[in-house]
Symmetry: C2
Subunit: 568 residues, 2 copies
């Protein structure tokens, strides 16, 4: 029954060579399905096909037209595979021709993951404009900094104009207020022309609560599993194939039609799939086929809270074939070593010793008992270093704090430098969070702009409960307030101020070192020795490649320390 | 934190060499835990240990004594790891010394799985006595029939005296009305002395509803997953290690202390485990360690409705290491080929063609779309034939029919013979269901003996709903009625009646053929060709081993057919 054509999108509205629109919708719950063209009021009936699909080819719908679907002759809904929601999540969709873009990035070659130096950013608060073109304006700056890839937080259409992106409800539609699908393509084209790779964060483990009209179409969700966000996405229950195709098509679209270089799949541990073929593996197999056909390279990166190397093992070794994963544990161990918080999930980490283990073993909990999780957790991994992404800050680790403080507000200037250095000297892939390179003092707060007042209140309440582990003095900033969003904006003017400029130059030097040093440029976990000296709060790291040797002494104490090199 | 000692049971009550009882209970939910010795009224406090365990060593409790636990000084509960419940599921446990049994089976060697010819039986209805000693009386008969292994439906203590066994709530306690732990050991010892292997059906995917006191002790269940039986067993959520140890200890106990040869793990697809190490794999690793230490061989067989070979792949090939699995699909295809029901889950099967696929590929749905499941289902398997167990009847396939009819009531005498033959000539392991060898006419009905009236009513109602797919004329037999149980008893007297005797001799001859024929005695899936001729309702099977060739023509039509051998 598989109908995925790697060469083109097959769900939603797609235009043929002759200009006619092929409209194809997975709606097994519908008894009747009509396309309603908004401006003309025309209604075109779709024909029922196998496996819950409805389809029609029509010359009545043109690119740019607004449209929606009429289910059973009465329920009006936007397209679940909409490419554009010019009036937000509750209104009509807009037909887009994916072919209509003048790509000029033919000279671009996506580098291997080992060469990635990630820079995570949020479109809304990164630039003053809060748009894709705002990011484009900063590309020369990012090149000056030295990073090789930007990682854009989710851009799927969400309610209102302010959201981290994880409340998206149109996984194929690019947020209108950011610049829509063509704004994103313009940015990616520009990135490629300047030699910057683009990583897009996508959410396949849940859908946002507002504008979530999926139930009108079919069983996108299953109650087999419970998740923190309610019913789980249905990837292994009855009717799951339509849902699986929906997400596989989504991954293919970003790579094929948007020239995205890598996807970062959000919280894949929350994708509950007990079928014989895990959906991640099926995504990988389809992306492999696309790469073979296009001769372009694409990477699949996952956020994973399971310490289970099966996710990143190659398909031929019974893995799901993901290329790389985030490791939060490195972050946690590093922050505790640096004297940061020790409550909540940090309570599992003892600092120096666990940081040494993270350098050595990637997974800290690799079959050990985790007091915080209250269970034995994880497996041992021998996967190469370039399969792991490390950071001392990211949107979650900053933004999930009650007051959204960056390291700039929590650690001394010197300790901030130490944190960045610890990332750069690791045998893993480094990632930075926008603004940390100049020690941005503004917070990155949690913000939303729901239009449903009940939901807005629930989010406020949920937020208060969520960080009970991180309780500290002060009021919880209101996620709904525009001021909360505005407070989270980067202050580019600070780059001219001495201390901020000094930090920028330090980051610049670190990144340059990472790219040019014979040892650091390789993510080699094998040629590595690490000695923890918790008494002196000192960590000694030795790495080598052939004749080249590198010694790092990371001093987490507040005192001057003497380190013997090489460590005995 | 792992505390499993493969050499001896470590939870519940266990006696040391010096006669003292070591009492160890996993009760993370308790603030205080006392042992109450019923006869003397003595109270012995347990001491809190790590990871939710409580422990004490005492000389106050002797083998044979009744006891229970007092949680927080007020809630009286039997022992979750009780070995004996002489007064049923709601009353006190009884201390048992596992060392006190005079085994005489030192000469016994558990055969390889490839030599198993299974005979599934229910202790309550198999013999007139409905006990383990009743089974023992029939061992000479079973030897005469030729089977090599009996598979005993679950014997964990359940409410009342009548139950299939899947409502057990004391996985370590052997049903008192069957003969308790020593009755079972006596039977196994006798089996071994006569050369019969013993397979025990155990349930690790749910617990029964009545007498289910687990919540008083700890989080044995999790609401992460929903199952048809409510909350899932907690094998991957917080506190899961105590639960995992409980089941691992259970598997080890049957092998080590009861000399069980193989376990049949019920419905393992309902054990939801997304941790890095699946609990089945951990069971396998522990059983491997036990086998190494004891030099005895034990097999792990699973009931699996996933068509996912990962469960039966060796651990070194990223599998869970189970030795074999049931394949219901062979049964379904065979029954449809024979002109049986085509509703419910049978609707996925077209008869001859799917039966041919089952002979060839083991899994019928190996990545194909299943209309009944409404999704693509399964994976392809190259696992050897001895890893699959086939049958034309079993407790579920008979007993899950509204009227519990065996093949004897649904198929002609000749077709019954054909069904048995189809099993014997397969490259898989054959299993028979008690009484089918003489074409027992009595049904195998669903029966329970709950003492909770609300539950009894719920079971009655549930039963009516369950087989809506198999709706036919007639009243639903009352699962609670003793008559329903009695009607399900085997009629041994029939063996003397001509037709029944004829069927017995036919089964005897088939089993002898299976054991002695150079081709049939090997479960070789590679040297096999099968040709389906659906028009003539004919299936031609060719198998070979070296010079030996075997041709089988299975004629599912009602007419005489001519088959060309060898098939072209």
């Amino acid at each position: 029954m598989k109908t995925i054509d790697i060469e083109k999108r097959s769900i939603g509205v797609n235009f043929q060579e002759d200009g006619k629109a092929v409209v194809r919708v997975w709606a097994p719950s519908a008894d009747k399905l009509d396309l309603l063209i908004v401006q003309t009021g025309e209604v075109v009936s779709l024909n029922k096909r196998e496996f819950g699909y409805w389809q029609v080819t029509t010359d009545r719908l043109n690119a740019g037209d607004k449209y929606c679907f009429l289910i059973d002759g009465k329920i009006k809904r936007p397209d679940p595979a909409s490419l554009s929601q010019p009036d937000g999540v509750h209104e009509s969709s807009q037909a887009v021709s994916l072919k209509e873009f003048n790509w000029t990035d033919t000279g671009w070659t996506n580098p291997p993951l080992g060469d990635y130096i990630f820079y995570e950013l949020h479109t809304g608060v990164f630039s003053p404009e809060g748009t894709f073109s705002g990011i484009e304006e900063k590309l020369d700056y990012l090149l000056e900094l030295g990073i090789t890839a930007i990682e854009i937080m989710p851009v799927a259409q969400f309610p209102g104009n302010r959201n981290w992106g994880y409340d998206g409800v149109f996984p194929f539609a690019v947020q209108n207020s950011y610049g829509g699908p063509n704004g994103l393509r313009h940015l990616i084209n520009a990135c490629h022309n300047k030699g910057v790779a683009v990583v897009l964060d996508v959410v396949y483990n849940h859908m946002g609560p507002e504008g979530n009209y999926f139930d009108s179409f079919g069983p996108y969700f299953t109650d087999k599993y419970n998740t923190p966000w309610g019913s789980a996405i249905n990837v292994d229950d009855a009717w799951c194939d339509g849902v699986r195709e929906y997400f596989i098509e989504n991954a293919l679209m970003w790579f094929r039609d948007f020239h995205v270089d890598a996807l970062r799949l959000d919280a894949v541990h929350a994708i509950k799939d007990l079928s014989a073929t895990h959906i991640l593996r099926e995504i990988k197999e389809n992306v492999d086929a696309l790469m073979k056909q296009s001769s372009r390279k694409h990477h699949l990166i996952v956020e994973l809270d399971l310490n289970d190397h099966r996710f990143i093992d190659p398909v031929k070794n019974c893995g799901y074939g993901m290329d790389a994963q985030w490791i939060d544990e490195f972050h946690h161990a590093l922050r505790v070593a640096a004297g940061g918080d020790t409550n909540g999930y940090y309570s599992d980490f003892d600092g120096i010793n666990h940081l040494a283990k993270a350098y050595r073993d990637a997974y800290v909990f690799d079959g050990m008992y985790s007091p915080h999780r209250k269970k034995i957790f994880g497996s041992k991994t021998g996967n190469p270093g370039w399969q792991f992404i490390v950071f001392s800050q990211n949107h979650d680790q900053v933004g999930n704090r009650m007051l959204g403080e960056r390291s700039s507000q929590l650690f001394s200037f010197e300790t901030q430098k130490l944190l960045a250095g610890a990332i750069i000297v690791s045998p893993f892939l480094p990632m930075f969070f926008m603004g940390e390179e100049w020690s941005e003092p503004n917070p990155f707060l949690y913000f939303v702009s729901h239009t449903d007042p009940e939901l807005a209140e629930a989010v406020r309440k949920g937020r208060k409960e969520e960080f009970s582990d991180f309780h500290s003095a002060g009021e919880v900033p209101d996620p709904m307030a525009e001021g909360t969003f505005l407070k989270s904006k980067l202050q580019w003017g600070l780059l001219d101020k001495p201390d901020h400029e000094r930090m920028f130059k330090y980051y610049q030097a670190l990144i340059s070192l990472r790219k040019n040093n014979q040892v650091l440029k390789k993510c080699n976990r094998d040629n590595l020795e690490v000695v923890a000296d918790p008494e002196n709060q000192l960590l000694l790291l030795e790495r080598w490649e052939g004749e080249h040797r590198l010694f790092c002494a990371l001093n987490f104490s507040k005192q001057r320390r003497t380190a013997v090199i090489p460590p005995s």
